[in-house]
């Protein structure tokens, strides 16, 4: 084997951690003050791919389906060591419409077929378990099904030996172990690794990297966003036990009341 050929599918999402505000028509997130990032599970998928290539050789293609701005996330992947970047977009996505999971999956599958027709087939396809924003839990599974390759979701550990991928998934008291012959797909979960950050030369290199652009022509699927809403927070009446170290006694009293101390 001359090295692995890995595809990682990523999504551009607002960086988590801030309260999300909506545009007045509630059909989009107000992005004025938002940072964008690669969806966390997929950031880990990129790191997993880098580690696989470091161990086994090969190269990595990062693919996103989204607005032209998602080029930023592709370049970020390049800055940490990914070799190839592909952006699949169309006018609707450029206007801010998030394609539904069926459409996304079809687009990815079509693109994979295109890329594979031009070169070698991919040995490993990595997805995030679910996107941080829409949380559909399905794109990787749909793509794998379309391409006829096995997939397991929720993976927090990957090993590769002799053409067999061993994947670990967290269970109640330990790990479940799955094994798949290549080519195989994996839905990666955050926690599988701590993704690296770009080096300065990496960032500068990524600026000059070529990002391949492919137009998406896929028809939409059956799940259509109508509008967003902000959940109402149920405010409980907080019992203030005190301030500073002097509140320790009240805390221990509480532990006693709850039968925990």
């Amino acid at each position: 084997m001359s090295g692995l050929r890995i595809l990682v599918c990523v999504k551009r999402v607002p960086a988590p951690g801030a309260q999300i505000t909506l545009t007045p028509d509630a059909r989009a997130v107000d992005a004025r003050n938002l940072a964008f990032t690669t969806s966390p599970h997929e950031e880990c998928a990129v790191e997993a791919a880098l580690q696989l290539v470091e161990a086994h050789g090969g190269d990595i293609t990062v693919l996103t389906v989204g607005p032209p701005e998602a080029e930023e996330q592709l370049r970020f992947s390049v800055s940490v060591g990914v070799q190839h970047a592909v952006l699949v977009s169309n006018d609707e996505m450029a206007a801010g419409d998030d394609p539904d999971p069926q459409a996304t999956a079809r687009t990815i599958a079509d693109t994979v077929r295109t890329l594979e027709a031009e070169g070698d087939p991919f040995d490993v396809l990595l997805f995030g378990n679910e996107s941080a924003d829409s949380g559909g839990f399905q794109v990787g599974v749909r793509v794998a099904r379309m391409l006829g390759i096995p997939i397991v979701n929720g993976i927090k550990g990957i090993d590769l030996a002799d053409g067999v991928l061993t994947a670990r998934r967290e269970g109640d008291a330990g790990f479940e172990v799955y094994r798949m012959a290549l080519p195989a797909a994996v839905g990666v979960k955050e926690g599988i690794n701590l993704p690296r950050y770009p080096t300065l030369p990496g960032r500068l290199r990524s600026k000059k990297a070529e990002v391949r652009s492919i137009a998406s022509t896929t028809e939409p699927g059956g799940l259509t966003m109508v509008r967003f809403a902000t959940p109402t927070v149920e405010l409980s009446e907080t019992v203030l036990l005190g301030a500073g170290a002097s509140a320790a006694a009240a805390v221990v009293d509480l532990l006693g009341e709850l039968g925990l101390a």
Binding site: F137, R168, R169, F228, P231, G244, A245, A247
Partner: protein, 330 residues
């Protein structure tokens, strides 16, 4: 598709998870007038699922332990045979995965983490659903236009307790009668993805089972800052948790992370030290029965949403609690 709605039962080698009952309540809410069929994939023949009007058991050697592709294939075969009006499951890891496979095979849309759903009226028109995005910090109203509607309900939105039986239908009168066995014709690929081994981790208090979780956030400030939190956890027989920023900083391993992208916990008491309470963290511990927040900021979301709060510097308060417990224990 006008048959009874399916509720996929999440189980591990025959042990049915509590959370799966939430899907029964969800299905009941969607279809108050229809009988509901529970679907148990693999394993030995189950007891009839309480709360469902009937139970399908899909039996096949490839289904004995969890096997996502095969479970999806088998469920799809049953659906083809039964034409359910919908397939629902609780949005557990397995629930969402199996539904994704069914949706992929059937090329039908799948709405995950739904909290409200209204079937199309008249039947055949799109459903109107409301689902969680961003782990619950945002809601999405959507149209689900499907010949086979597939939905998972968000965790902890619907009750685990059984929905009341409709008065005109006496489920208790037909116990067990409704277990129907179904044997699928699984293809050769069905066994490709299955659990081939299980690795146990060291016994001890785990985050998901501990009665008390003492958790630290950005306010802890450093890896060393967790010493006091560990001391308190040890005294209380508690597990140590943390927020995402803590694992990003490398102060704690990811296994300790509570939240949207970490673990979901439901202890009797969750002590949040220096955690501001971003929604992404909150969704991981909202099932805790009691929350005690220790924070310098009286207006931090964690404080305003907690049951109990102490305002101040955790580096002073946590050691003081440790001292107080030791003093009382002599």
């Amino acid at each position: 598709m006008s048959g009874v709605p399916f509720v996929v039962i999440d189980h591990d080698r025959g042990v049915v998870g509590d959370d799966t009952r939430q899907a029964l309540a969800f299905a009941r809410a969607c279809f108050p007038e229809l009988p509901i069929a529970a679907v148990v994939i693999g394993g030995e023949q189950p007891e009839p699922i309480a709360g469902a009007d009937s139970t399908f058991h899909i039996r096949h050697a490839a289904l004995d332990d969890y096997a996502p592709e095969a479970w999806g294939d088998a469920l799809h075969e049953l659906a083809v045979a039964q034409s359910p009006s919908a397939i629902v499951a609780t949005g557990t890891e397995r629930g969402n995965e199996v539904l994704a496979h069914v949706a992929a095979i059937a090329d039908q849309p799948f709405a995950a983490n739904v909290i409200e759903a209204a079937p199309g009226d008249p039947p055949g028109t799109p459903w109107r659903i409301r689902r969680l995005r961003w782990g619950g910090s945002l809601l999405e109203d959507a149209r689900l236009d499907a010949t086979l509607p597939i939905l998972s309900c968000a965790l902890h939105v619907f009750p685990n307790v059984l929905p009341n039986a409709a008065p005109d239908r006496d489920r208790e009168a037909r116990p067990g009668a409704a277990v129907v066995e179904f044997v699928p014709n699984l293809g050769p690929d069905a066994g490709r993805t299955r659990i081939v081994d299980r690795v146990q981790v060291a016994e001890g208090i785990t985050l998901t089972t501990a009665p008390v979780v003492v958790s630290g956030g950005r306010g802890v400030g450093s890896e060393e800052g967790f010493a006091a939190i560990e001391a308190l956890a040890e005294l209380l027989g508690a597990a140590v948790g943390c927020s995402r920023v803590v694992t990003n900083q490398g102060w704690r391993p990811h296994a300790d992370q509570v939240g949207q992208t970490g673990k979901r916990v439901a202890p009797d008491l969750y002590i949040a030290c220096g955690i501001s309470g971003a929604i992404q963290h909150w969704v991981g511990m909202q099932a805790a029965k009691n929350v005690l927040a220790i924070n310098t900021d009286p207006d931090a979301p964690m404080v305003t949403k907690a049951d109990y709060a102490v305002i101040g510097d955790l580096h002073e308060i946590v050691p003081a609690i440790v001292d107080e417990i030791r003093r009382r224990r002599g």
